[in-house]
Amino acid sequence: MNRVFKKFFCLISIFLTLILAGCGGQTSSKATNKISVWHWMTDRQEAFKNLAEKYEAKTGIKVSFELYAPSDAYSQKVRAAAQGDTLPDIFGILGEKRDFASYIKAGRILDLTPYMEADLGLWRKEFFAKALAVNEFAEGNSYGIKTGVYGVPIDVMTIQMVYNKDLFKELGLNPNKPPATFQELIEIGKKIKQAGKQGLVSGWGEVWMVDCLANNYAFNIMGKDKVLATIKGQVPYTDPDWIKVLSLFKEMQESGVLSSGLVTMVNKTAEQLFANGKAVFAFNGSWCVNVYKGMNPGLNYGAMLPPKASDKFPMAIWGGAGSSFMVNATSTNKEEVVKFLKWLTEKEQQVYLAEATNNLPSNKDSLAKVSPILAQFAGAMDYSTHPNVWGVSEFPAVIEALDKGIQSIIIGEKSPEQVATAVQKIKERELNKKRN
């Protein structure tokens, strides 16, 4: 019996030792000469590592960039780390502003306002205003967050359409004159259909990109105020302007503007199709420049705004900060971390990142050395907006219903009116839940 007990306790001890060893501690560096950064940008890991070596040579502080991709997996990792209090010194928040607000309320993100405002706002003035706006909470915001800046943009982006100039020539179109109006786009769609080619490709199997284009046209057709009023519940989704927005997708599908299989397409597939010259149009972000360069350096294409469906209001595209970094509020290295981010967003480092990764810099002074195609994306920044700067967020269930509804319109299952009714029903349900 004694031997049995001895064996048993031996086993239990080993078991408990293994469990305790597996329990992680805080990931943010306790030592002041080390900074940990978690990111999701697969195209920038090499460039980040080079910058980290440069910074270590300059300051003696070791910066560790850890890549976790794809972005969905990264978001989950950050969320789990926040729950387990194991966030690194620097990380990013992907997704909606309400998630950003939740992290701030949970005490996970440092308020950078004092650093931004120091020296008469020297650091703040380096950035494009729209890039900073995505990381700011304005006074009286609906999230209940104290006014201030909580993130640092490390690049900017716009999401637009791109078109293949060689395929334009094949269709008998002027490659330097992309469609400026929705009607022109529809006419081109008919030519695409006749020629048996593929029209617009995009990752609409991932739904958020559908939401993006729908919002762009919503702004163009009804203006920003009415879109925000809809989000606030003051205008129903059954309003004729919303039906018009939804009808645009039906028109695009019927005319041949949209490629087949769009609703099950992930963005990587769309990028491959466009890069290989198999699609006339694509709807993608400015990060695509680096992607297309890697897939097909000889691709002859241009960027364009989504063709406007109305002259009443300007076309709006999503843009602003592309990727941003936040500082862990519980980091023991806060001052060093902020110093590193200041260095990372200086002109020299931003020029290097823009050249190495073909992404638009967040530093205004670094824009001179971007490629012509990237400059086309940058030129559209004046038209940019972003849900994260509107001050209000739509209910996730409503966004999901709208995006899936548009997918249903594209596959010919539902009419714009049916989708509008279904979305409004969900909106009313969510509003009732909020009131109760």
Partner: protein, 293 residues
């Protein structure tokens, strides 16, 4: 002495029970508890809603039941087409045929492949836009061009296509278990039946099938549990929920966690799903006990 012996037995069971409690029972209770809160997974505070989330899942979420229906459809294809195929192939490999060892290896390759790889490879094989379009080309080559179709991009055929690819990936497990079951049937029974004048079909009907019932039930339970939880293959094949047509419960749970940031609701969905699977398994088990009796 008897007490000592009993204690000794329990001593060796305790670690397993402890592991089961720590990694299954306690998390189940914890997730159930989280399901009673409205929580975004990040905030330090949660709002207690009682059984509100569970009520919403059961009575007020049509997309959840659409997902359950889709998963049920894929499971039905798996229970019939997949398992019948697995059984027939196992039966063939149990007999004295040429290269049976080679077939045993080949048939077990699909289950060991990664689901996302299988999804992406089959998407390449099937898809007419961004793939090799092999199936449609084969149909056209055989003079059956009228059946060529956009299998993954048509809402009417997407789910069935997913179910068939899932069956291709999954039949290897059933094949292995059926083969093991067939090999436990004493050969003497077949020889005795042969001596008594039984033909192959009679032997199959009166010996093989009755003795394989427990194995069939086991495979059925494993098929239901595994197939109802499928989702990675769907992401590889069609990118996601395809306007609800390829939506399955796990994708709905992920959408609640990631898209809606409703962790509490996702937990309620998970618990509800778990309870349904336990109920189905229990019914299958009771059915098998009755069949034995």
């Amino acid at each position: 002495m008897k007490i000592k012996s009993t204690l000794e037995n329990y001593l060796f069971v305790i670690p397993a029970v402890a592991i089961f409690a720590v990694f299954y029972i306690i998390p189940f209770i914890w997730v159930f508890r989280l399901g009673m809160y409205e929580w975004d997974g990040i905030s330090l505070t949660k709002t207690f809603v009682g059984l509100g989330n569970f009520k919403e899942v059961i009575f007020n979420d049509p997309s959840w039941w659409q997902a359950m229906w889709n998963a049920g459809y894929i499971t039905l294809i798996a229970l019939t087409f997949q398992n019948i195929l697995a059984f027939l192939l196992a039966w063939a490999c149990d007999r004295e045929i040429k290269a049976k060892n080679f077939y045993r290896v080949i048939f077990f390759i699909p289950p060991v492949l990664s689901e996302i790889v299988v999804g992406m490879v089959w998407r390449f094989i099937i898809n007419d836009i961004d793939g090799a379009n092999i199936i449609n080309r084969s149909l056209t080559g055989m003079g059956l061009g009228q059946f060529a179709h956009s299998w993954l991009n048509d809402p009417k055929s997407a789910l069935t296509t997913v179910a068939l690819v899932h069956s291709w990936k999954g039949f290897g497990w059933g094949f292995l278990i059926f083969l093991a079951g067939l090999q436990t049937i004493p050969r003497e029974l077949y020889e005795a039946a042969k001596v008594d004048g039984a033909n192959a079909w009679t032997s199959f009907k009166n010996i093989t099938i009755p003795l394989m019932v427990p194995v069939v039930v086991l495979v059925a339970i494993l098929t239901v549990l595994g197939t109802m939880q499928a989702f990675v293959l769907i992401i590889g094949l069609v990118g996601g929920e395809f306007a609800g047509h390829t939506s399955v419960p796990v994708l709905r749970i992920l959408a609640s966690m990631r898209g809606s940031s409703r962790f509490g609701y996702a937990c309620a969905q998970g618990i509800s799903f778990g309870v349904i699977l336990i109920a189905i398994s229990f019914i299958q088990y009771r059915f098998s006990k009755k069949s034995k009796a």
